[in-house]
């Protein structure tokens, strides 16, 4: 039941005006800029007014936005044709990391190609959703059972390779993004519920056989942070003090005493939300959550407007990955979830994860602005 799409000669509708001519989406860009601006303000404050650090942060943001614009230019069909190859290459790179990757902070995540050094697991955050969307787009939705099984196998393979590094946080995130593709592909509710039951039932098994001590320690510390007030529990205690003491209106810009007195660890990266909550209070938190929710809403709207299943599944899953990031990070620093070391998208200082995220948005914009001339329905 192969679907024959015209692969080379797709004709796209001409975008007539404004940002669309550059394959960009005005709403998303405005929201992302707002979040980046807020992030820069908090990074500056959390670093204790470090102008150099702020400049580096802004430069990185600029690069990330540039990459987003570049990816927005790729026509969806080109993307779809190359997806299986990209995925295969990233899998090979993950195996290469396992065999001869560089160690960094006790985990083997980096691949050094002489010129650049990068984490293949980062690319996988985009490559896996693309691959699964490609697979399920071969047929009408919902996908046949053999494709579902193949898809689950790919998720397991990818997550497994990343767990080996070992990087549980990223593995969970990537597995979640893959499962979202399956969810959007229309897996029946009966299957979804029974899987949830099985997963919950298998948690004790994972605990016993597949978790390293440091991961177990994180979970235990989460359940009872007071048990290790000098170690990892300290972070959560201090983070909660920072958030709680912000109150309704916050202590104002540069007013985070917890970050400035070094009570808060990683205040510019993983724990940046605590600084922002301390300085801008519950009102600031509400604004931030609203911004994220609007990004998610716009992203899902783009997905719903997409013309084919490949675009639909990819964009919806990437948007939900952003949601997972936000929820896990804020849940972590406020003591709802274990400490899993994920940054807060567009707010946290630095990193390769910002680039990956902007690649996702680039793809979303590409899908939205490359519309085929199909039928009056579109």
């Amino acid at each position: 039941m192969k679907i024959d799409l015209p692969e080379k000669e797709t004709v796209y509708r001409q975008n007539r005006h404004g940002l669309e001519a550059f394959h960009l989406d005005l709403w998303l860009i405005l929201l992302l800029l707002a979040l980046s601006a807020l992030g820069s303000v908090v990074v500056y404050s959390a670093s204790g007014g470090d102008t150099e650090m702020l400049m580096r942060h802004i430069i990185r943001l600029g690069i990330a936005f540039g990459i987003m614009v570049l990816f927005a230019q790729i026509p969806p069909n080109q993307l779809r044709i190359h997806t299986p190859w990209v995925f295969a290459v990233v899998i090979v790179m993950l195996i290469a990391v396992f065999l001869f990757g560089d160690m960094g902070k006790g985990a083997q995540r980096w691949l050094d190609l002489g010129v650049i050094r990068f984490q293949p697991s980062e690319i996988m955050k985009v490559a896996l959703p693309l691959m699964l969307a490609w697979l399920f787009a071969q047929n009408s939705l919902p996908p046949p059972a053999k494709h579902l099984i193949l898809g689950l196998g790919l998720i397991a393979l990818t997550a497994g390779l990343i767990i080996l590094q070992p990087d549980l946080g990223t593995a969970i995130l990537i597995a979640a993004s893959g499962l979202f593709v399956i969810f959007f592909a229309g897996l029946s509710w009966r299957w979804i519920f029974s899987t949830v039951v099985i997963v919950i039932g298998s948690l004790p098994v994972i605990w016993h056989f597949y978790m390293y001590d440091y991961q177990k320690q994180r979970v235990l510390t989460f359940l009872n942070p007071e048990s290790d007030p000098l170690g990892s529990g300290y972070h959560i205690i201090q983070s909660k003090i920072a958030i709680g003491s912000g109150g309704l209106e916050g202590k104002g810009f540069m007013g985070s005493s917890q970050a400035h007195l070094d009570f808060l660890p990683e205040s510019t990266t993983d724990f940046i939300f605590s600084v922002m909550a301390e300085e801008f209070g519950l009102i600031g938190v509400a604004v931030l959550l609203t911004l994220y929710l609007l990004v998610i809403a716009r992203g899902l709207y783009i997905a719903a407007q997409a013309q084919d299943n490949f675009a639909r599944l990819t964009s919806a899953s990437l948007v939900m990955t952003l949601f997972i990031y936000v929820f896990v990070n804020i849940g972590m620093v406020s003591g709802l979830l274990p400490v899993v070391g994920l940054p807060l998208p567009l707010m946290s200082y630095g990193g390769s994860s910002m680039v990956t995220l902007m690649v996702s948005f680039g793809l979303l914009m590409s899908f939205h602005t490359h519309k085929r001339l199909l039928s009056p329905n579109h």
Binding site: L141, P142, F184, I243, L248, A303, F323, G331, S334, N377
Partner: protein
């Protein structure tokens, strides 16, 4: 089902879109729900519990302070203190509360005029590199008047507090320093290899010896004190306290009286002496000379003093007992002789004629006695330390048989003593040479190896283990310093004929008891039977790191003198191993005096 092709009908296209859009609605509702959950959580923290967190963060800050545990003490076998803790006044710096360290330190200099300038300069350097999150101590012990003087001026120094802390002290100074080791300031590398929270509030760690080996036992676990402080870091109220768990004391097998006796006996010499109880492996004395005072290291040793120790030609920092690798010389002869008669390679009563040398492949291997020993059997050869007898024996045995005989006694591998970084020496064999040098073995090298020369190297602790095992009739015990060392499974070297062992014991006894014995003249006055073997090694260096220094040549040219022995001969209670570098006194002389002191002064108590 579906037919090939994309969106065959408008109907199906609509159906696909409807299915997907339903999922999108569900996903968005899910996201909304979880965001509301986050908002509820934030409301709980920032609105409902605001007052609680506000007072924690804003008015009075809560801080978690570690209470360092008291380090376990170290005793000798008779409960005499070898390592203690004494309370001292020190200044604790909190990096987060000090704006400019240079002005702070120069002001501090005016309050404490006796504080040396150089210390402050060194401290400033260390301070810059230190982590913000750990207290930094100025390595200067304040006198009581200085302490009260600082207390008066304390208000001028936010971020510096006067604390009373416990500092390691070694009451016997240099005595047994190489066994005890010392504690010193914990460095970055060490900090990364330990659980950081276990070392919160502590700035020292075991660096060498027992202090390092049993670090996890001695250190204990820190307590935690939650205190409320004001913005200047002054403690307003103590909240919760979890007391620290004190480190465990360690009782050593050493007898400090014997230790001090030997160190005095060997004063001015370079070398080592080990006294063990062959029945259980307990080490009664562990002497490596020259030594140094570990107390200098506790609070950070000064550069000049440390450089002095490093450049001292007598190498006081080297732990000779486990790291000094010496050719064991003739001390290996009894072990070789035992192997030869146990394996029926030679009859113990067979006599050979020694003209003072052995001719082999056109090369003359000389005996130490130029005129030769004449007709000798195995017994005579051990008593008189006849080299020629063993030269000829070595040709019959071959290097690998010699290796296999000596290996179980502990040569060529670690003894397993409870000290860090033990050297393994070299027990030569064909396989060893092939691996180490990539060359095949020459028979001439066997001739040299059999008298403990050539490639052969052993540490004093290996010799002590070997003689203990021999005195024990082949029951191997592991030498150890901790009285509470875990029970190690005892192993037995197989005995072919007990007669053979008796013969070797008898010959070693005559080394001291027979007028022809090489150690006879030192043992004439002792009132107990003692057995042993002398050795000499004609090497003037300590190990591979030694440099050839011309000015020192005259002293360095002197032979090393070695002795291994035990007493009393029947039911031995101690073994004595002595190695003296470039000896001006004979090791046998020293060993007999040690045994005599033990037998007459200490025996009844131990």
């Amino acid at each position: 089902m579906h037919t090939p092709g994309l969106y065959q009908t408008d109907n199906e296209r609509k159906q696909q879109r409807r299915l997907f859009r339903n999922r999108v609605y569900v996903a968005f509702s899910l996201a909304l729900l979880f965001f509301i959950l986050l908002l509820v959580r934030m409301t709980y923290l920032q609105w409902v519990n605001y007052n609680q967190y506000h007072s924690l963060a804003e008015g009075n800050r809560i801080s978690v302070e570690a209470i360092p545990p008291v380090r376990g003490r170290i005793y000798d076998r008779n409960h005499i203190l070898l390592a203690d803790n004494r309370p001292v006044f020190a200044l604790k710096f909190d990096k987060t509360k000090i704006a400019d360290i240079q002005t702070t330190l120069s002001e501090l200099g005016t309050v404490l005029p006796d504080l040396p300038e150089s210390r402050l300069a060194r401290f400033a350097e260390r301070y810059q590199k230190a982590s913000k999150h750990r207290p930094i101590f100025l390595s200067y012990t304040l006198s009581e008047s200085e302490a009260s003087q600082f207390a008066v001026h304390n208000f001028r120094f936010p971020g510096i507090s006067l604390v009373s802390k416990l500092q390691r002290t070694y009451p016997h100074g240099e005595a047994a320093v190489h066994a005890l080791g010392y504690v010193g300031r914990i460095n970055r590398k060490e900090l990364s290899s330990v659980e950081p929270s276990r070392y919160a509030g502590t700035d020292s760690i075991g660096k060498l010896g027992i202090e390092k080996q049993y670090e996890s036992v001695l250190h204990g676990y820190p307590g935690v004190q939650q205190v409320e402080t004001n913005a200047n870091g002054r403690i307003l109220r103590k909240l919760e306290t979890t007391p620290p768990i004190q480190g465990k004391d360690i009782q050593l097998t050493l007898d400090i009286r014997l230790q001090l006796f030997i160190e005095e006996l060997l004063a001015g010499q370079k070398g080592s002496a080990v006294v063990t109880n062959p029945n259980n492996g307990e080490i009664l004395a562990y002497v490596s000379l020259p030594g140094y005072d570990p107390n200098h290291f506790v609070d950070g040793i000064s550069q000049s003093r440390y450089r002095g120790l490093l450049s001292d030609l007598n190498r006081p920092l080297i732990n000779r007992v486990v790291n000094g690798q010496y050719p064991p010389g003739s001390t290996v002869k009894p072990f070789v002789a035992l192997g030869a008669i146990e394996q029926n390679i030679i009859s113990p009563t067979k006599k050979i004629f020694d003209p003072g040398y052995m001719e082999f492949k056109g090369h003359r291997y000389r005996d130490w006695k130029r005129e030769g020993h004449g007709l000798v059997d195995m017994h005579d050869s051990v008593v008189q330390s006849c080299d020629t007898y063993f030269y000829e024996l070595s040709l019959d045995m071959g290097i690998d048989a010699i290796h296999d005989q000596l290996y179980p006694f502990g040569f060529g591998h670690k003894t397993g003593i409870d000290l860090p970084q033990e050297s393994i020496g070299i027990l030569p064999s064909k396989a060893w040479k092939q691996a180490a040098k990539g060359e095949s073995w020459y028979t001439g090298e066997t001739v040299i190896a059999v008298i403990g020369q050539g490639y052969f190297l052993a540490t004093p602790i290996q010799m002590a283990k070997a003689i203990s095992t021999l005195a024990n009739y082949g029951e191997i015990v592991q030498p150890h310093l901790n009285m509470a060392a875990p029970n190690i499974e005892k192993q037995q070297i197989p005995i072919q004929k007990i007669d053979n062992w008796d013969r070797v014991m008898a010959s070693m006894r005559d080394v001291l008891a027979s007028p022809r014995g090489t150690a006879w003249r030192y043992a004439r006055d002792i009132a107990f039977p003692m057995a042993g073997k002398t050795g000499t090694s004609q090497v003037f260096s300590l190990g591979k790191d030694e440099e050839y220094i011309e000015e020192e040549l005259s002293v360095h040219l002197l032979d090393h003198s070695l002795f291994v022995g035990f007493a009393p001969v029947d039911n031995p209670e101690i073994t004595v191993t002595v190695v003296i570098e470039n000896a001006q006194v004979k090791a046998a002389d020293v060993a007999v005096k040690i045994a005599d002191y033990y037998m007459t002064e200490l025996r009844d108590e131990n």
